[in-house]
């Protein structure tokens, strides 16, 4: 029976597809998109076998199953390619494979006719392979490898339309920004390795929890790792790359920049959570970072006009939320939100893609009234929006509640802040769907040409919408029991003690009220007269509006930092190198030598008495020195 021992096949199949496509895609029919889709489907199917195997083995003493082989061995330094399957990985994997498959299918429509159609699927296959590896990695090094590989896929896909300068710049920005975080991750990984002597995650965790690693040391290592997570998950202050990453094709945004890669940071924290829990204070730090990101991004999202950017800030905001969850050690809620968020955010993006595909613009100001033209898109989009706003029934509601409950205990200020966050989420989500689908159409030309997308695009929308509707119920014991994991997700994914989902009325009520309030308020602003009311609202305080509109000027700040700081340093070093090291040090030595020669040659003045004098001086000097040595 194929089971968890075959987990390595999950990344291996798409990797094979990647290799095949890289070499021969241009010789395959349809540029080989079916190879990629087939591979992902195969992995997807295989996933259920793995899942089933896991379910059957699940028990109190079960931690996970590891398979793999040694890749490199230097002396006593061993690098392994190993795959470890446990519930945390399974949850993440579910998100990865489902969204990946949907995006693959969707892309056959969305990317149709693109000149680099085959290349798109090639990179997607690589991404799927890398992302599965990241999830399944049993050691930190392999995790890092996969981490970098998904980064490069992200780079390649953001810059997919590299003929656009902005896309090229965005790709670079994304990669370099995350790379800075990766530096931290790598340092953290190596620091842990140095103490523990292995990269194996379970061993490292065991060492950390059993106190083998000194607290200071562990804190430093984990802080470095946290940098990596922050970079990948675009947490403040690394968040700037994610909105720009929207330069990539929309399916990419859905897959990489909403559902999977960007949550890798959260996944990493979840993986390492037992270690993080050892150090008190780190949790608070993570919560603060997450909170800043969550609230800040939600505020910014309220004032954006690019449909994809709104969703991007929404993603940022949710990522911050998940960070808060991790900081509060609410693993169950965090991972669950990760899963549901993957579905509804991918759905949002794909829906937005569908809209963009139809009207060929991303400015919400040019949209409006599309519900008539694109009913399926509209329907699924609204489901996703409501899930995002965390309204009951939709999956976001359950996962958010789980997190809120986790945070509530002993972190009241954060809990209150999160309620505000829910409110803000309601505002921007409502604004998004109001502006896009309702109200009058503001650009008639585009409106006329709008049409519903082809089935290969709407099908994934529908599938994801269904998942968005249903996934939340997995939290419930009864649903879990029906599917084979009694206790629901709470007893599936946990840190120390399984904790079944208990519906808490206070939390649910508070959160729902906040969300609903936000949605309704916004609907009021945009209903009927269109955005006029909203504009007036913004005019109450133009400075604040400008501040939000311009994303708190963080990008500008960074740009200035790069221009004057980094490039300035670079120019300074280059100047130093050219004028001090080279022109003074190297050329100077040469010139000094030459100058000495030039000076000395005039001793040879052509006059015979001088020559004789030189000889006599030589004689006298030698004689005097010699005689003084003897006396």
């Amino acid at each position: 029976m194929v089971g968890m021992n075959a987990a390595w096949l999950l990344p291996a199949i798409p990797a094979g597809a990647f290799a095949l496509l890289l070499l021969v895609r241009n010789f395959l029919p349809r540029k080989g998109d079916w190879v990629a889709i087939g591979a992902v489907t195969a992995s997807f199917v295989l996933f259920f076998f793995v899942l089933h195997d896991l379910m059957t083995r699940l028990g109190p003493n079960f931690h996970g199953v590891s398979t793999g082989f040694t890749w490199l061995k230097i002396d006593n330094f061993v690098l392994r390619v190993g795959f470890f399957t446990d519930p945390i990985a399974i949850v993440m994997l579910a998100a990865v494979l489902v969204v990946s498959l949907m995006v693959h299918v969707y892309s056959t429509g969305y990317m149709h006719g693109d000149s680099r159609y085959g290349w798109f699927f090639t990179v997607l296959a690589l991404f799927t392979a890398a992302m599965s590896t990241l999830v399944l990695a049993d050691n930190l090094l392999l995790l890092y490898v996969a981490w970098e590989l998904v980064g490069i896929c992200s780079f390649l896909l953001i810059g997919f339309w590299w003929e656009r300068q902005s896309a090229a710049e965005a790709a670079k920005k994304a990669f370099v920004t995350t790379r800075v975080g990766d530096v931290g991750l790598l340092i953290g990984v190596i620091l842990l390795w140095k103490k523990v002597g292995t990269f194996d995650i379970q061993t490292v965790l065991h060492a950390a929890t059993s106190g083998q690693i000194g607290h200071t040391y562990l804190t430093v290592a984990l802080l470095f790792m946290l940098l990596g997570a922050m970079g990948k998950s675009a947490q403040f202050p690394f968040h700037v790359w994610l909105p720009d990453a929207m330069e990539g094709p929309t399916p990419v945004s859905a897959l990489i920049h909403a559902a999977t890669m960007v949550v890798a940071g959260i996944y990493l924290l979840a993986r390492m959570l037992p270690a993080y829990m050892v150090i008190t204070g780190l949790g608070t730090l993570i919560m603060v970072i997450g909170m800043i990101t969550a609230i800040g991004a939600a505020v910014i999202a309220c004032a954006q006009t690019d449909i994809k950017r709104i969703i991007a800030y929404s993603t940022l905001s949710n990522l911050g939320f998940m960070f808060v969850a991790m900081g509060a050690h609410a693993l169950t809620g965090g991972m669950f939100h990760l899963l549901t968020h993957a579905f509804f955010k991918a759905l949002l993006f794909l829906g937005a893609g569908s809209v963009i595909h139809a009207v060929e613009t991303q400015e919400v100001g040019d949209l409006g009234g599309l519900w008539r033209k694109m009913p399926i898109t509209m329907g699924t989009f609204v489901i996703a929006c409501l899930a995002n706003a965390g309204l009951p029934v939709f999956s976001g509601f359950f996962s958010k509640d789980l997190v809120l409950e986790g945070v509530m205990h002993g972190n009241t200020p954060y809990y209150v802040a999160l309620l505000a966050w829910v409110f803000l989420s309601g505002i921007y989500t409502a604004r998004l769907f109001m502006l896009t689908f309702f109200g009058p159409s503001r650009d008639h030309h585009r409106y006329e040409h709008a049409h519903e997308s082809p089935p290969n695009m709407t099908l994934p929308l529908v599938v994801l919408a269904v998942l968005t509707l249903l996934a939340g119920w997995l939290a419930l014991d009864s649903v879990g029991r029906a599917l084979g994991f009694p206790g629901g997700v709470g007893e599936f994914v946990f840190v120390h003690e399984p904790e079944a989902y208990r519906f808490s009325f206070t939390v649910a009520f508070a959160a729902t009220s906040a969300g609903l309030l936000g949605v309704l308020a916004t609907m009021y602003l945009y209903w009927g007269g269109g955005p006029e009311r909203a504009r007036r609202f913004a005019d109450y305080s133009p400075d604040v509006y400008a501040l939000i509109r311009n994303k708190f000027y963080v990008d500008e700040l960074y740009q200035a930092g790069i221009n004057y700081g980094v490039l300035g340093l670079s120019h300074a070093v280059a100047w130093f190198d050219r004028y001090v090291v080279n022109d003074t040090g190297v050329n100077g030595t040469a010139q000094l030598t030459g100058w000495l020669g030039y000076r000395l040659k005039f001793l040879q003045n052509g006059k015979l008495p001088t020559y004789a004098l030189a000889m006599i001086v030589g004689v006298l000097v030698m004689a005097i020195v010699a005689l003084s040595m003897h006396s």
């Binding site: 000395l600 040879q604 052509g606 015979l608 020559y611 000889m615 004689v619 010699a626 005689l627 003897h630």
Partner: protein, 476 residues
Amino acid sequence: MNHYEVLAPELVLLGLAFALVTLELLFPQLRKDLVAYLTAASAIGVLVASAFFANRSDSFKDLIQLDNYTTFFRILFLGTAALLAIASAHLVRDKLSNAGEYYGLLLLGVIGATYMAAASELLTAYIALELLNFTLYVLVSFDRKDPRSGEAGLKYILLSAFASALLLFGISFIFGVTGTTSYAGIRHALEAGIGEYRGTLVVGLVLLLTGLGFKVAAVPFHMWTPDAYEGAPLPVTAYISIVAKAAGFALFLRLFSQAFMPVISDWRWMVALLAALTMVFGNLIALQQVNIKRLLAYSSISQVGYMLIAIAALSHDSATALLLHLGGYAITNLAAFIAIIAFYNATGGEEIRDFRGLAERHAGLAMTLTIALFSLAGMPLFAGFMTKFILFQAAAQHGLLWLSAFGVVTSMISLYYYLMVIRQMYVLKPRDGDGRLRVPLLTSAVLVVLALGIFFVGIWPTPLFRAAASATRLLF
């Protein structure tokens, strides 16, 4: 037993020299290049004959020593003279008069040089030295049309006389302290101890070093060299730089190893000082030269510095290394000078910039000159690297690592000025109107042989090395 056969090669050479002069007097119509080839042939003849002296040890009344050391230098000088005679053929025919005397003097100089190597007594050494000097005075000022030639001769003769006086004054003190002029006698006297006369001896040594330093062109006694090199006709420049220099070192080495070893601590630092100064000055000033002859003059001064290292580190090892280096240096310098002579014959240019684009005007000439210059700079594959390496290593072995370091660093500087010539030849393109050059067949053949010789010494130095080792064995 009078051992006159010890003198045989030089007597034959003397006869040949007179024969050449007479020949030209009797047959003024004779083709002048023919005289050159006759000279070369006679020199090679004597060379081959004297090769039979190999491994023979004999002496003429303890004045002239015949041993492998003498034979080594005799072959070196004769070979150089023969090749330079061939190289002079066209130049002497076209630019100089009195060819017979020129070639006769060339051979006479070899006699003086050989006896400098062979002398085992100070008076003999002095006379041999003066014999070589006299031929050089005449040869340097041989070009009557070129005012530079006369000036060079004047400076050379006056300064040389001055240096001879210093040398003799020094010899007189040494004679005064030791009571003898024979090398072995001096050594005995020094080993027996000289007590209170040490100061006198040291002054004598200083003066002796001055005289020898002048001969081999060590800084600060070198100042005649660039002028003499530049003023003299090209083959004569080559002759000075090879024969005169090697002869100076031959005398230097035999004298100091056989006579002054007991007081090595008294003079070692002086030689080391001279070596260091010579290397530094020679290389630095060479950086600023524009005339190829003058460049090679300074280059040869710096080579003297390297060779002095071996004297400072005097031992069998370093002496062997010195002879090896001299051999490689002779071949290299011959290649360089003969290439330059060929270039000069074809173009009349002797400034470095005249060599512009030579690689496209005559690839072979450019390549030979490049090989020679790289060898002088001490680059591997070529003789210079191998011989210099062994020379410096030998010196380092005998406690003079710092001086070897000096040598290494300054010889790296020297690469610059050699590269400047190579740059003209290869990097720059010929000026408009500069066509291909013609080089006589025989000269080409000589150049090929010399280039191969440079490679040979650079890659397989064992034969020369063994010859040098056996030549110096009896000195210690």
